[in-house]
Amino acid sequence: MPTETKPYGQKTQRPSPVPEVHIVWITAGLGCDGDSVSITAATQPSIEDVILGAIPGLPKVYLHNPVLAYENGEDFLKAFYLAEEGKLDPFVLVMEGSIPNEKIKDDGYWAAMGTDSHTGQPIKTTEWIDRLAPKATAVVAIGTCATYGGIHAMQGNPTGCMGLADYLGWDWRSKAGLPVVNVPGCPVQPDNFMETVLYLLYQLAGLAPMIPLDDELRPTWLFGRTVHEGCDRAGYYEQGDFTTEYGSPKCIVKLGCWGPVVNCNVPKRGWMAGIGGCPNVGGICIGCTMPGFPDKFMPFMDEPPGAKMSTTAVGMYGRALTSLRSFTKASLNKEPKWRHPRAELTTGYHPRTY
């Protein structure tokens, strides 16, 4: 890129000690590619911000993602083979889609990408993970399928699929000592993922400490609070005001919302550009960021068992609170009495000059 077109950040800041990082992205898990599509909606940062180097201090990033790639077929896979041979260093491996259990059958494959030139058979997705994970500096699982199994790992599924940490082992560490980094969501909230990538790039550049993760390997600053704690309908909950109708702006716990017990920042952050979300815009939280998703939240449209008790308990307190607040509200909705058009000043000021 000629110097004059370089984004501001790249030309003014000190160069990163790691000049280049490759992101090798497998979408060939059992998934829908919805996470790859989702991240193109991100703006904090956007994918082009990261690739074009608009953010200071970052290494130059090369992205190898099948949904966004220029190359096709073997040309596209070249980066994967180089990574396997240790010639693409450092690289971050991103896994999308859940990992099928290929050991439960005698022949064939559940999921694959590319063709083995010796056997003429497809290269299994699990084989790609086995080849690439040991060589990766960091490994990130994107979306609930890759993190914990998700929809395709539902009870009664035929493939025995699972999350990446289930496959590699929860105590697995990359050659740089990082655990698997999980960014769940079905699909992933766009900015949540891009921000995690940004953090890891800073870490690789020596500008950030070890990424803080919780026990489920989620970034703590993104998944430390519940849906409810960030929901703009939580006020209705406090007042014991629950709706049983769709399309109402009130709390939808009784319609099946699991917000009070789900780790997710979507109502606070919105889906994109602060717009959309789930319970904040009338969609019940079905717990799609959680390891127990989907089975522990089904049937989605029934009231969560725990909510029956908690909404009854909060109901009495809430009704009392609401009636007290209605007095205060009525008072606050009236202007102070000194604002009037009469020919006298009643504000408390005593003029001496007029």
């Binding site: 989702s38 919105g270 799609c288």
Partner: protein, 413 residues
């Protein structure tokens, strides 16, 4: 009934010099596509071609026995581009099954969400998926002479889109560095904001339910939607002449390019955007409310409209096994013998499908894919037709988008 589910093998072509060319994976598509060909370059012909999908998930298996109200939350996850279409269809199906008719405003919000989804689906071709096939980098690499010509060819509509020469359009399509690529990315975000206003989240909506939506219909909601819509309309005024210039140039620069994608004109559509004044979600009145849809249903065979009747379109859908890794269900359980009007339902209709995966080695002379073969049965001729559900062969430049959508819709569920 009898159905051809056996494999059609190619006649051996000893006399021809065939060059094997494979692309696996095909990128910029959803659905794990691989294309394996043998090409007769002397006679400028593709002698053999196999397309495969290399992933199995098992929706029709793991959805069995689950609460039917969960259906749309689950089916949305079939596709990461158009999850909403699957969710909407599942809600329509639930409305019919439960006998509920959503309030009119709910139906309009679903329609507005769908409309935003279609704009997103259209726009994604320009950035992530298809535009790249026509970008400077690609044309230079694959057709240097076409690039040379593009540099000397003025864009007929440069006054409308601002790109002086055809080569400027191609440069603007370069992934990430191209200005039009980036503009399309920004616009695609705006279509998704419109979608999120109506349905909460993209790609898997949060506010859709059987019987309506959870969206709160305020004045602000519709204001926020229409200001974005008008920006998109303005953008399209630039995009349409830009496409015209680019593709007209290709027809001119590459004689024969208009033949790309030419085949029998077979189209299928089950309609879109219900009219809440007419649609009561009863099977009995399905043809009536189908005709009242803002995009009407229909099947076109060899360029002629054969039917607009939703009952007819539905009942003649067949799921054939083709070259896929599944056991036949011809002698399996019949779940539905008759539709509610008393019409017989075929054993190969999706209502009677039993999915039994049988993983095995890939064999291009036998079974080689996880994708089944959905067809439409033309009772006049007894043919099983592969209907195009995303466009048409006449629009050759649209061939790539159409085939890419197929990857989406036929991906192994």
């Amino acid at each position: 009934m009898s159905t051809l589910t056996g494999t059609i093998t190619e006649t051996p072509t000893k006399s021809r010099k065939l060059v094997e060319m494979n692309w696996d994976p095909i990128t910029r598509i959803v659905g794990s596509l691989g294309i394996f060909t043998k090409i007769d370059f002397e006679n400028r012909q593709v002698a053999e071609c196999h397309s495969t999908s290399s992933i199995f998930r098992g929706y029709s298996i793991f959805m069995k026995g689950k609460d039917p109200r969960d259906a749309h939350f689950i089916t949305s996850r079939i596709c990461g581009i158009c999850g909403d279409n699957h969710a909407t269809c599942a809600c329509y199906a639930q409305n019919m099954a439960f006998g509920v008719r959503p309030p009119a405003l709910g139906e309009w919000i679903v329609n507005l969400g769908e409309a935003a989804e279609y704009m997103f689906d259209h726009n994604i071709f320009q950035d992530n998926l298809v535009g790249v096939d026509f970008c400077e980098q690609m044309v230079k690499e694959t057709n240097p002479s076409v690039w040379a010509k593009a540099q000397k060819t003025a864009s007929p509509h440069s006054n409308l889109h601002g790109y002086r020469n055809i080569s400027d359009i191609m440069t603007a399509l370069n992934p990430f560095t191209g200005s039009f690529y980036r503009e399309a990315l920004v616009m695609s975000r705006m279509t998704r904001e419109m979608f999120c206003l109506m349905e909460g989240r993209h790609v898997h909506p949060s506010t859709l339910y059987p019987g309506g939506v959870g969206t709160v219909p305020t004045v602000q909601l519709f204001t926020d939607y229409i200001v974005r819509l008008m920006k998109y309309v303005e953008f399209m005024k630039k995009v349409v002449p830009l496409h015209d210039d680019l593709f007209d140039f290709f027809y001119d620069a590459l004689p024969g390019y208009e033949e790309v994608g030419r085949r029998r004109i077979l189209l299928g559509c089950w309609g879109s955007f219900n009219d809440p004044a007419v649609c009561d979600y009863t099977y009995k009145n399905m043809n009536e409310w189908g005709r009242a849809m803002y995009v009407t249903p229909g099947v076109v065979v060899d360029g002629k409209a054969v039917t607009h009747d939703l009952v007819d379109i539905n009942l003649n859908i067949r799921i054939l096994l083709g070259s896929s890794y599944y056991d036949d269900w011809e002698h399996g359980e019949t779940f539905v013998k008759q539709d509610p009007l008393g019409n017989p339902v075929d054993q190969r209709h999706p209502w009677n499908q039993t999915t039994t995966p049988r993983p095995q080695k890939r064999d291009f002379a036998g079974k080689y894919t996880w994708v089944m073969s959905p067809r439409w049965y033309d009772k006049r001729t007894g043919e099983y037709l592969a209907l195009d559900t995303g466009g048409g062969p006449k629009w050759a430049a649209g061939q790539r988008p159409v085939s890419r959508l197929h990857g989406v819709c036929l991906s192994s569920c």
